[in-house]
């Protein structure tokens, strides 16, 4: 069982926001879904092992890339060829 407090905490961790009016319904639906997920407690078997897979990396070589102005075009705030972001610290 998760409580409204837990759901509020998860919303904070995920940075998705939650309004007071949403807390009740979200918590109720969350619990119904988590209760359904409990079926996984009964799963038997070995952990999945990747097969026929390897990490595919290209060589660290400079390749043509998109022009700076095209990449910046979608950014709402720019300054001297950089993207402006909220302060982190």
């Amino acid at each position: 069982m998760v409580t409204e407090k837990d759901v509020h905490h998860i919303a904070e961790l995920a940075d998705v926001g939650i309004s007071p009016g949403e807390l009740g319904p979200f918590t109720h639906q969350f619990n119904a879904i988590l209760e359904y997920f409990d079926i996984l407690d009964r799963v038997q078997g070995d952990a999945a092992v990747p097969r026929d897979l390897c990490n595919i990396m290209r060589g660290d070589e400079v390749e043509p890339s998109l022009p700076q102005d095209e990449v910046l075009r979608n950014a709402a705030a720019q300054e001297e060829g950089f993207i402006r972001a909220p302060r982190v610290m």
Binding site: G17, S19, A32, I56, E70, A75, A76, P86
Partner: protein, 433 residues
């Protein structure tokens, strides 16, 4: 037809499109001048791409997805971007931030989702073929609900470069069309190796559908006809399998015991992957502007609370929770074991049969607004998610009606045997038309 421009002015009474390209240029080639619609989570250079989310309103990709580049090289005209559940999260297309798409077979019903716009554009006669994406059934469900054909290719067969990711380990771009031949033609254009997708395999598709299925063994899993499946839908699908037997196939009963855990495993994995993938939407590089005067978390939270719809926020939160300290072993690790068990079940069955058949969806299309509870909506995906967990190809082909609405016959095959599921669907289609 040589290169040129087509005029595309559809009567979009079903709200299939989010963006219509009224004058669509095209080159010469195999699909010269054919209008192809593209789901709005696939990047199109110079054409707004929103994933049906407010958080990407106004976003114009500076590059084409690999599949779009291939479409253009084949001569296709990009006719527009189709409506969908926001970021692909839904089964009805009602989760679009821009309003639902209506089912052309009955406008009081949903078209299925999440590629509902692509399916409705075809069923409504606006385009002959379209691209969709399928993470847990999002091509096959709307194909079934709208009475058209849709293929989820084998994982790795079609490049995901330029697909705006929701759950990378499950999703594939795939073709939808009026007929199996349309789907096969579009698959030929989009399949193949791409070095920009690290999960891409060098398995091009050059196949002409054939209708000879004599000697084919079809596995019929009991779980696809059990509790939760509308008996009217089950009856229509059983009769379709009878038709396949008439033309030379043999039906063999089988069982997929891991189905019991498949849906829970799917929803744990897809929400975990979503919580990570959707972290990039911060209003800084694209989307609505974050308030740069505020601190990071305040600005980030504000943009995301306003930009993401309820279902997207729910799935991000579920994934965040399932991956959080103390719960990882209970949810994510167990889901991976369940996923492996699904793969093993398919491997066992495919050592005895060539394909597996059953209904695509447990019911016909719901009424608009009928399902408001998220869990009951998730349960509708029970018959489609196993193919995504196992990475195998699966096609939905129309096989009749129940209560006046279309029913889809789902055919699943071994990984990279997309040709075979297409042949079986083609054989069925030819036998009934």
């Amino acid at each position: 037809m040589s290169s040129g421009t087509i005029s595309f002015e559809p009567d979009d009474r079903y709200h299939a499109f989010l963006t219509v390209c009224g004058h669509a240029p095209h080159r010469s080639g195999k699909l010269s001048g054919i209008a192809v619609a593209v789901k709005d989570n696939i990047s199109t250079r110079g054409i707004e791409t929103t994933c049906a989310s407010k958080i990407l309103m106004g976003y114009v990709p500076p590059y084409d997805a690999r599949v779009v580049e291939l479409l253009k090289n084949s001569g296709a005209a990009i006719a527009g971007k189709t409506n969908m559940d926001e970021f692909g999260m839904g089964t009805t297309t009602e989760n679009s931030a821009f309003g639902p798409t209506l089912n052309p077979c009955d406008t009081g019903c949903v078209p299925g989702g999440s590629s509902g716009g692509s399916a409705a554009a075809i069923a409504g006669g606006m385009v002959q073929m379209a691209l969709g994406t399928d993470t847990g059934g999002s091509i096959r469900c709307p194909a079934a609900f709208c009475g058209i054909v849709g293929l989820k290719p084998s994982y790795g067969r079609v490049s995901r470069y330029g697909l705006i990711a929701y759950a990378n380990s499950l999703e594939q771009i795939g073709p939808l069309g009026k007929t199996v031949s349309d789907v096969s033609t579009l698959m030929e254009v989009i399949a193949g190796y791409d070095r920009h997708d690290s999960t891409s395999h060098n398995k091009p598709y050059t196949h002409t559908p054939g209708a000879d299925i004599k000697g084919l063994k079809i596995g019929i899993p009991q779980e696809y006809f059990g509790a939760g499946v509308d008996p009217a839908v089950a009856a229509v699908v059983k009769s379709a399998i009878g038709k396949l037997e008439e033309i030379g196939a043999t039906a063999v009963p089988c069982s997929i015991p891991s189905m019991e855990y498949a849906l829970a495993a799917y929803y744990v994995i897809c929400t975990c992957e979503a919580s990570s993938n959707l972290a990039r939407f911060d209003g800084v590089r694209y989307g609505p502007a974050a308030d740069t005067k505020k601190s990071w978390h305040d600005a980030y939270k504000e943009v995301r609370a306003a930009g993401f719809g309820t279902e997207v926020r729910r799935r991000i939160m579920l994934g965040t929770f399932a991956l959080s300290s103390g719960y990882y072993g209970k949810y994510y690790a167990k889901a991976q074991v369940a996923r492996e068990n699904v793969r093993k079940d398919f491997a066992r069955i495919f050592s005895e049969v060539d394909v597996i058949a059953g209904p695509t969806m447990p019911t016909v299309a719901f009424r608009l607004g009928e399902k408001s509870d998220p869990l009951s909506m998730y349960l509708a995906d029970i018959l489609t998610v196993p193919a995504n967990l196992a990475g195998i190809p699966s096609i939905s082909v129309p096989c009749g009606r129940a209560g006046g609405m279309p029913v889809g016959l789902q055919i699943m095959g071994r990984q990279f045997e997309d040709e075979r599921v297409i042949d079986v669907a083609y054989a069925y289609e030819q036998a009934v038309t």
